[in-house]
């Protein structure tokens, strides 16, 4: 009890000290974000596929909709996690799914690519604790023939 009180006091102190820190919205400790498909190491001929985004013990809400324990998905392609106390960039390496999408059609050129999901709140700022998936690698083989999509 005492330690938790102390911890709270410290955290409060930290919060007051850091004016630059954004106010990350809370998420339950058991909430989890994961990539349902593709699997880590998956070889995807043609490089066109639907990514399926999974979320446990929390909800999806479109960007701009403020509701506790909800957020929307962001897909990080060939990039590392951005700063977790700031708005997620919006570019070809950071795809936003602000309508509340849980699947998206992706097209990637031949080569190895990394994919990672990061959930963020109505204002595109990650939560506390941050909800991100493991970073997976997929392989798009060089196109030898005119192949269609896998899925």
């Amino acid at each position: 009890m005492q330690t938790s009180g102390l911890l709270t006091a410290c955290l409060a102190g930290l919060a007051m000290m850091g004016p630059a820190l954004a106010d990350n919205k809370p998420m339950p400790d058991n909430a989890r974000v994961y990539i349902i498909w593709p699997a880590d190491g998956q070889v995807i001929a043609g490089g066109k596929f639907w990514i399926r985004m999974g979320l446990s013990n929390a909800g999806i809400a479109p960007a701009g909709i403020e509701k506790q324990y909800t957020g929307h998905h962001h897909l990080l392609v060939d990039t590392d996690l951005p700063p977790l106390d700031d708005v997620i960039p919006n570019d070809k390496n950071h795809l936003h799914f602000g309508l509340g999408q849980t699947e998206a059609r992706i097209e990637l050129p031949p080569g190895r690519h990394t994919l990672q999901l990061l959930l963020a709140d109505d204002g595109h700022v990650p939560h506390k604790p941050p909800l991100y998936s493991t970073k997976i690698t997929i392989v798009v083989p060089p196109s030898t023939s005119r192949e269609g999509s896998t899925q």
Binding site: M53, G59, Q101, E103
Partner: protein
Amino acid sequence: MSKRHTLACMPVLVVAWMLVAAAAWAQAGSTAQDAPKRSPAPNDAYVYIGWPNDGEVVRTTHIKVWFGTRNFGVAPAGTSKPNTGHHHLLIDVGLPPLDEPIPSDKNHLHFGLGQTETFIDLPPGTHTLQLLMADGDHIPHDPPVMSKKITIHVQAAPNVASQ
């Protein structure tokens, strides 16, 4: 109150009465024609049960179900944003009327937080599952965004803890 005062109030009373009557008439008119309005959905919006598969024999009574959604967004109940909705899982039941709020009971589970997966507990036996999306007011879209109705066979878990 003097007679003069009463007369002076008359126009105000008449106007007030007309306003109330007009409001009542407008309300009656709208409920009579288009009882709750269904939100439109694009024709390519697609919802499916990602797991379990149709016909799956599930060896646990504590079953994970994940909800697949394409070309459509998920939003919590109470949110009115075009092309979004929240999931409802229909268990062992047919489709409810599509022009009114989906019932909320053990056969119609609401996922109003915007959840995209759940765990359900079902007794051993054959069961049906179907997803039906609805708008911020729990009314299905037009056309309805719903999955195929699947059948699963639940078997009691072996002695080991469930998956």
